[in-house]
Subunit: 237 residues, 2 copies
């Protein structure tokens, strides 16, 4: 089985003085999360597409899925956790209870606020997750990357050709992900800002998939403006 988790459990409102979490804001004619779900619905290879929503937005999420997409047996909604990785684990436990996770099952995790993901990116995530067990979608670093522990002075400027900027999807062998996460200490878990790091912390290989510059994450009013321009211009086609 191949499961897609659409991570929509954030309640951040960096959009300003609005109460609506950003994934539910309108982009063109539909909420951002609906655009994202639609991209995954187009893939026959996906057995289930699970929207991971905040506990108190579960009904709202179900309502907009019904309204904009309608009933689809592949589509499900479940509650997230206190952070990104806990949301993934909650969803995997839910999947495990519903279907029983098998040794070869793949989970594709994707930000609900990255609606411009492409068919190629999803396909390569599936292919490499089957081959390697862990996949990260990245683009070559556009900017020079600078390391500073103090935040005041530069420690190091790594070679730009070796640096990449992470996007999503991130895809994994579902059982291996649960297993590795279960083995991490509380301290290790607290330093995780990224699911792929669960693998790199244990020296497990993570394959790269080439993302796209336009596969942006919409988190600010500025990003939403860019997204509207992308949607109108169709630069992403």
């Amino acid at each position: 089985m191949i499961y897609a988790l659409i991570l929509a459990a954030g309640k951040g409102t960096r959009m300003g003085n609005v109460d609506l979490p950003k994934q539910f804001m309108q982009l063109g004619s539909r909420p951002i999360v609906i655009h994202t779900v639609e991209k995954f619905m187009l893939h026959d290879a996906l057995d289930r597409i699970i929207v991971v929503a905040p506990q108190d937005w579960l009904q709202y999420t179900t309502d907009i899925l019904n309204r904009y997409i309608g009933h689809d047996p592949r589509l499900m909604v479940t509650a997230g956790g206190p952070d990104r990785n806990e949301s993934i684990m909650n969803a995997l436990r839910y999947v495990d209870k519903q279907f029983g996770i098998q040794a070869d099952d793949i989970v594709i995790t994707h930000d609900s606020v990255r609606p411009f993901v492409t068919r190629r990116i999803i396909e390569e995530n599936i292919q490499y997750a089957l081959e390697t067990g862990a996949v990260d979608t990245v683009i070559p670093a556009i900017d020079t990357i600078v390391k500073s522990t103090s935040g005041q002075y530069i420690d190091e400027i790594p070679y730009r050709t070796e640096m990449y900027q992470g996007q999503t999807p991130q895809s994994f062998n579902a059982r291996k992900l649960m297993h590795l996460y279960g083995e991490l200490s509380a301290e290790e878990r607290s330093t995780l800002t990224d699911a792929c790091k669960i693998f790199t912390l244990r020296q497990q290989p993570v394959r790269l998939v080439r993302g796209e510059v336009f596969n942006i994450k919409i988190t600010t009013p500025y990003d939403l403006k860019v997204a509207e321009a992308l949607l109108e211009g169709g630069t992403h086609h």
Copy 2:
């Protein structure tokens, strides 16, 4: 003296099938480079603002400066070199010949295709260049940063809180910059993708100035679309 170098010597045409280097393309009612020069013109602290143009675009650059800005004794045009750092050095040699670079002189280097630089960013560049001798303008890394030497598998996912994305301006004590660059080997020069690295290679301190997310570099048609949206929306004010 405080000199600003507006780096416009690139001939890249990633914009697609156009012959016009990107810095000369229209953004709203004026060429991109004109917007950028105007931001620096507003600063009384700057003694000279020098546009560093490709050799065969010198007359064109002079013409558009005259047309959109008019005559200003602070404004000059000179030819760049084969790469970014050589362009900076060519311009500094030109400045040295014209005015004689003094021990405390500062040079602010800025991408001509970053028209959304702010007054605060320029002021802090001047202040810290006077204090520390080298300044880089950066924003905290928005994306997870991934290191991969193979381009196929992840080597490392550094702590995101220690990673920054470089912008410009980059500002320096002019004499120290020339001196350090002169001391580098040909091999060291060939690995430089960034002027600040001239300082870090010799363990010289580089101070960070906080940039802005909207201080974008316009290099693709997608960026130009974003820039048009920024210009209309005025998000950068």
